[in-house]
């Protein structure tokens, strides 16, 4: 609240902006980075899964991602509903959403315990659990970014966010682009 609050206040959102101190949404939806978007239809069913969701171009130089195709796709779905070409078929959705790797499931618990210890003022005891979460699920950037932000990353983890991005191919491949049909034109083929 202390960190995110000023940003929310400055944005004057017309939608609900919620505070998720315990990373509940990430846990429930298996999200591994931010910004991540999910589309949910009127009946409460997911029609597009977790994917990178930039809604402006402020990080375009870093990521190489243009927000326009994703925003156009989003508008198309709002207007067309289930007829939109951007609504993903159920089998593909299930494939993208389901995570059954035991290590990933255990990583979530390690991270949760680390968070509890940190919030109890026990950073030194939290670090081994944050490290274990990162080891069990190295694809989860939330585990890295949150842990690094809570301490001196170089001292406690021997690395930094920038170094980790470079290790993974640099900022232009850091985010996997959204899997949109006809993404280059912003319209489905």
């Amino acid at each position: 609240m202390r960190d995110a609050g000023p940003w929310i206040t400055a944005a004057h959102p017309t939608f609900a902006a919620l505070i998720d101190e315990k990373h509940l949404v990430s846990k429930l939806y298996n999200m591994v980075n931010v910004p991540t978007g999910v589309w949910i239809d009127e009946q409460g069913y997911i029609v597009r899964p977790n994917e990178v969701a930039f809604v402006d171009d402020r990080f375009k130089n870093f990521t190489g991602l243009d927000s326009a195709p994703y925003l156009n796709a989003l508008k198309d779905w709002v207007e067309e509903g289930p007829k939109s070409a951007y609504v993903m078929p159920a089998d593909k959705l299930q494939q993208k959403l389901t995570v059954s790797a035991p290590d990933s499931i255990l990583a979530s618990a390690e991270f949760g315990l680390g968070e509890y210890l940190y919030k109890s003022g026990r950073l030194a005891e939290a670090i081994p659990h944050f490290k274990q979460a990162q080891k069990l699920n190295p694809k989860d950037w939330n585990y890295k970014r949150q842990a690094y932000a809570l301490s001196d990353a170089k001292r406690d983890y021997g690395t930094s966010f920038a170094e980790e991005v470079e290790k993974n191919g640099g900022s232009k491949v850091y985010y996997t682009p959204p899997d949109l049909p006809g993404a280059s034109s912003g319209k489905p083929k």
């Binding site: 609900a16 997911i46 509903g81």
Partner: protein, 162 residues
């Protein structure tokens, strides 16, 4: 001399037991509760059934281990793995139950904390494509429930200030 050694060992045993029975924190559904372990076992967590209810909301019933409408039957042949009797009270093996319901558990022995993650039933929402429900507060503390938005399209987007 033999008696002294025997007494010393007795004292050490009592000390170790007391250490293992020291107050423990259980984190379940991200809520922390202090409990008194019912059995000195560093590898498993046995609680009294009253602590089970307090820490998790679950109760041992004839049909299984239940919380509201949710009920997990215990395999009859394995009942002793889950339910015991310690110091005259019924006890329950919460770590064995976690294994039964495919729930990840992390134990920090030094800190005296057991963390229980999401059970399989809590993770299954995604396979059905039904958006997992949650309730979270806004800046003013007003609670918002995702399922309260039925009838509207929802664009759920997450970000962090780190």
């Amino acid at each position: 001399m033999t008696l002294r050694i025997a007494l010393f060992l007795l004292v050490v045993t009592a000390f170790v037991s007391a250490q293992n029975l020291r107050s423990t924190t259980v984190i379940y559904d991200d809520i922390a509760t202090a409990v008194e372990p019912a059995r000195p076992d560093a590898s498993q967590l046995w609680t009294t059934t009253s602590d089970l209810k307090r820490a998790t909301g679950f109760e041992v019933k004839p049909q299984g281990v239940c919380r509201d409408e949710l009920c997990f039957p215990l395999p009859k042949v394995r009942r002793k793995e889950f339910i015991g009797r310690d110091a005259g009270k019924q006890s329950f093996n919460l770590t064995a139950f976690a294994q039964l319901v495919h729930q990840p558990v992390v134990h920090d022995e030094g800190a005296g904390i057991w963390y229980f993650g999401l059970r399989a039933d809590q993770r299954q929402g995604l396979a059905s494509l039904r958006a997992p429900d949650f309730t979270l507060p806004d800046m003013e503390g007003k609670m918002h429930r995702l399922s309260g938005l039925r009838g509207k399209k929802v664009f759920l987007i997450t970000w962090a200030s780190w």
